[in-house]
Symmetry: C2
DNA sequence: TTGTACGCGTTATCAA
DNA sequence: TTGATAACGCGTACAA
């Protein structure tokens, strides 16, 4: 049972020392396994027993205050919904950090950017910060460094000169899809941009389509803004059914939108991929479950996670002022099935 | 640009005081808006200017050390994969906490339980901890309280006497599905238990089927352990096609497993729901996208999130020793479509 | 209005 | 082996 030296207050190392009948110094030596501080096995045991008895857990704040650095690694929650990619990423990162005695913390603030965000992160004086590059300016990164954050790793569309960036291009997702469709001979392509939470990523992916269209004037791009809603999808499909120069292919924002469109297209009598080809994104299990099987752009979340962990670890090892870091690129890959 | 009073070290309130030409006390008064400490508008401005100039951000650890309590609320990352439910929950909780000046932190450790886990959480001396009830024992909760954690809110299958619990019954998910199937006249029901990450929740949902079967001896329950894999699904479907007393209904762990089974069943010539009815879980968009449309048990993540936030806020307001809290129940709801 | 001084919990240094 | 002491950054009671 947990003993209560001072009700409502957490036990301190002094409490442990008192309970074990030793000095605070001794407690500290035992708990931190300080080498070369000949502690007898007997006292060691006494101290550990007292720790267990009191349920002692060191105060991380005080420890960090004294040490000048914490063992926290702060991951700023990304703007887009938490999906499988993030899940894998967190899992791997946590494990890798745990091996070094570092603790992964996901910071909840999702609305603040730039200096505002950095100030909140800096309050915790973390060892490292991982954040979307779109939420970090040169100033905010400098601020973090100023606050003793040894490592800053960004994730985003493109590398910035002031911090190592793991490039993860939403934009290329659209590009890869468009390139495939062009190669298949499509000339009129529609791109879906979702409304709501997903619109930010949606714009980026659509911009990728636009990149390809800009390079090839014979392409005709149609932008379709749409919530995830069967009726809206039906309306779009109906319009296309009635039009003689409808798009011959549609890049849906993700696999779910793609499935939604496929259903709507079929509902109005258009065939997939015969009349309209469809490409999704994420390569989810859904792709195999719909008819026809869905062609999809894969983000390879496992690869991404590993790459991310690698960069983070390199940065943690790096002593301030080393050579600039590598910035891996992560190219999405088209997984071809039947729908396009 | 960020000024550097002492390179590599974060600016302190003393630095701010120096830069503003005032005392540390004054800085503190200004930053904490201490009432009744007549600070002239001029000095106020000077201090704030210095804060901006230095990029000062208070050391949360030191502040907590002094105050005896932090403004952190720790959410221990749940064991099962982060999905839409968790996403909504975090979003709502963060907003509600932000209104009180509290910061939501998601703690990465996912493998530790009981005392081990509690020790890690306690190190940060958070104001509140939210965790899966299955990772908390009576002792570990007592330990947290001992360490000044004012509020502990659990989420899990059933209420425990030592902490307020938001009841969220995976088990009832299976129960609700089974009750529906029984009402529809099914007597031989199969339940899928996924392998891997999802097995923990899978066992609970299957136990819900078992509850119903236990109460009705005429029911015949078949347990199917299965990874998410088309070939394995096909094998199961083939076996059923060849058997004269195959299950007439299958409770799939979630919508994706349900869709996988539906496809496999159709592939081997069995009709849905004619030969075999199928029920999924989560009421995802997928339900409307497959043929036939999928009947699913909905968890109503928005309701859940609101309920969760409500309980958390009540607990935060509660002064230690108040009356025991309400423990809302959250009943899953069957959304009927065509597949069962 | 402002400065001085103390203590929160840890750990490192130094002397015993 | 151990015990006293100082310092980390912050907030505040108290005195000026």
């Amino acid at each position: 049972m947990v003993q209560v030296p001072r009700p409502g207050k957490a036990p301190t190392s002094a409490d442990v020392a008192r309970a074990a009948g030793v000095s605070r110094t001794t407690v500290s030596f035992v708990l931190n396994n300080v080498p070369g501080s000949g502690i007898s096995e007997a006292t060691r045991e006494k101290v550990l027993a007292a720790v267990r008895k009191l349920g002692y857990s060191p105060n991380a704040g005080a420890r960090a205050l004294r040490a000048g650095t914490s063992n926290l690694v702060l991951y700023a929650m990304p703007r887009w919904p938490l999906g499988h990619t993030i899940h894998t990423l967190l899992e791997r990162t946590r494990d890798a950090l745990a091996e070094r005695g570092l603790v992964l913390i996901v910071h909840g603030d999702r609305n603040l950017t730039g200096m505002e965000a950095a100030r909140g992160w800096a309050e915790l004086r973390p060892r490292a910060v991982i954040a979307d590059s779109c939420r970090c300016t040169r100033e905010s990164v400098a601020m973090l460094r100023q606050h003793g954050v040894h490592t800053v790793v960004l994730v985003g569309e493109e590398a910035v000169p002031y911090a190592p960036t793991v490039v993860f291009q939403q934009r290329r997702v659209g590009g890869v899809a468009a390139e495939h469709l062009v190669k298949e001979g499509h000339r009129r392509i529609a791109g879906i941009v979702p409304l709501g939470d997903l619109s930010e990523a949606g714009e980026l992916r659509y911009a990728g389509l636009q990149d390809v269209a800009d390079a090839d004037p014979s392409l005709e791009l149609t932008r379709v803004e749409m919530p995830f809603d069967h009726d809206r999808a039906l309306a779009v499909a109906r319009a296309w059914a009635a039009s003689e120069n409808r798009p011959t292919a549609v890049f849906a924002y993700n696999d779910e939108f793609a499935a939604l469109m496929m259903r709507a297209l079929r509902d109005v009598g258009l065939s997939v991929p015969g009349d309209v080809a469809v490409v999704g994104v994420d390569d989810t299990p859904l792709c195999e479950l719909v008819t026809p099987r869905l062609t999809s752009v894969a983000l390879h979340s496992t690869n991404f996670a590993e790459m991310h962990v690698k960069v983070l670890m390199e940065q943690l090892d790096r002593t301030l002022g080393d050579e600039p870091p590598v910035v891996p690129e992560h190219e999405p890959v088209l997984v071809r099935r039947d729908s396009a």
